[in-house]
């Protein structure tokens, strides 16, 4: 026998009778507004700033996704003092200050687990 299910809350209605809505801070608006025409950008007041912020946000997202894609991959790190090492990437900390790696190949042997300091790195590369 089916029992009616309780409802968490009622659907939200308009704020007031003549309210327009379409909240510009909603995720959908933010994500899709780059395809929208000039009207939205002009309304923001500082179109170049918005565009730059848009680009920053896109690049950051891309970088974070690249960190996710790196998991368990063999990565070569180019560090200061002409240090080149290779390791299996584990994870980054939240501020991207340290990388947790495994089987770090160093001139004095293989380190099972290690933490690499990101400020020590010049660049890193891997094959996808």
């Amino acid at each position: 026998m089916k029992t009616p299910v309780p409802v968490l809350r009622l659907p939200r209605g308009p704020d007031h009778p003549d309210s327009r809505g379409f909240d510009p801070s909603s995720p959908r608006f933010q994500a899709l507004r780059s395809t929208r025409g000039g009207a939205a950008a002009a309304a923001a007041g500082l179109p170049e700033l918005r565009e730059e912020q848009q680009a920053r946000s896109l690049l950051r997202q891309r970088y974070l996704r690249s960190l996710l894609a790196m998991r368990d991959a063999q990565v070569r790190f180019r560090m200061y003092e002409r240090v080149h090492v290779e390791a299996r990437f584990g994870a980054s900390d939240i501020d991207v200050l340290n990388f947790q790696v495994s089987d770090l190949q160093t001139p004095i042997g293989v380190q099972k687990e290690a933490l690499l300091r990101c400020p020590d790195m010049i660049s890193y590369s891997l094959e996808l």
């Binding site: 009616p4 299910v5 659907p11 939205a40």
Partner: protein, 329 residues
């Protein structure tokens, strides 16, 4: 047999809700647009009914409303003799298409490039939205006001229902009428299911199902009251209908058996549609509200939260776990 369920009532409109449409499933969920005689069509989040925005601009009752698959564009048909195309993300009006009489129905092609309109001037029009200044293609033939027009058969054909008691199938390119269905009374609503090519038509107390390509009758079902609108579930196991007696009826499509009926609206039901995932159906009524109903009563979905009897008295704050009960009657 009347059963109980807790519908979600969406308020906001101040006059009867005459039409509603769902978008497809997008990365942000699915959406619902409602057409209202107050002239202010609204966009809502499909699974919760939460209001997102109101399309402001029409100067008369809005008779028809539709969304494209991606819910990026909306179109509305109104008594101010215009059809309008809107940006469904920002709420901005993108295009106003002037007509010679009340516009009743609007429908996008799958690629959202063409808009089909129909209304009281008895003419079907196809507008190329990429060339808004160009004249629309005009399809004449109906002898009375057009109530509903839809693209079908991969947008190669058009189906139209009018007060002349006919439903016509048109070829989009040759502009000829390929087939005509005649009825004793005016058709009250029409729904097209592309997957399976089924056409759902309501007239009088009847809900009729046709093959959308051949216009051959599949089956008819009679309801206890005059029906204004019906919708077939995406999996084609149920259909729902509503009309003059204010109730929503749910039927088994294969057996034609009436499974459930719900009271709730305070006025005749003008439109009813299943959501694209089939988990709920929405109804619009003369009472000015939209109501969302669960297809499988007892399930946790959207704002409906299944609570097991033990949890009602439980004091711990462990995550609630709910077994979905058997859904078929």
């Amino acid at each position: 047999m009347a059963m109980r369920q807790t519908p979600l009532t969406c308020s906001g409109h101040t006059r009867p809700v005459v039409d509603l449409a769902f978008s497809g499933i997008t990365p942000y969920g699915y959406f619902l647009i409602s057409a209202c005689k107050d002239g202010k069509p609204m966009l809502r989040q499909g699974d919760t009914g939460d209001w997102i925005g109101t399309f402001l601009g029409h100067k008369g009752a809005v008779w028809g409303a539709t969304l494209n698959k991606e819910a990026t564009k909306a179109a509305t048909a109104a008594a101010d003799f215009t059809a309008k195309v809107w940006d469904a993300v920002t709420g901005d009006e993108t295009l106003t298409l002037a007509h010679k009489h009340i516009v009743k129905t609007v429908h996008f092609t799958q690629d959202s490039i063409y808009l089909l309109t129909g209304g009281n001037d008895k003419v079907l029009r196809v507008f190329d939205l990429s060339k808004p200044e160009a004249d629309p293609q005009e399809f004449t033939g109906h002898t009375s006001a057009i109530k509903k027009a839809l693209w079908c058969n991969s947008d190669k054909q058009i189906l139209s229902a009018a007060d002349d008691k006919t439903v016509r199938l048109w070829d989009r390119n040759t502009m000829e009428v390929l087939k005509t269905l005649s009825f004793d009374v005016s058709v009250s609503s029409m729904e097209y299911i592309p997957d399976g090519e089924i056409l759902v038509i309501t007239y009088g107390k009847t809900i009729a199902f046709y093959n959308a390509l051949s216009l051959e009758l599949i089956k008819t079902v009679d309801a206890p009251a005059s029906i204004h609108s019906a919708s077939l579930h995406p999996e084609k196991d149920f259909f729902v209908a509503g009309g003059d007696d204010f109730k929503l009826y749910k039927y088994d499509y294969s057996t034609k058996e009436e499974l459930e009926s719900y009271k709730g609206h305070f006025g005749p039901v003008h439109c009813v549609r299943f959501s694209p995932d089939g988990e709920l159906y929405a109804s619009g009524s003369e009472d000015g509200t939209l109501r969302l109903w669960q297809t499988a009563v007892g399930k946790t979905y959207g704002l409906w939260k299944c609570v097991l009897p033990e949890e009602l008295v439980s004091e711990n704050s462990d995550t609630l776990y709910c077994n979905t009960p058997e859904i078929k009657a």
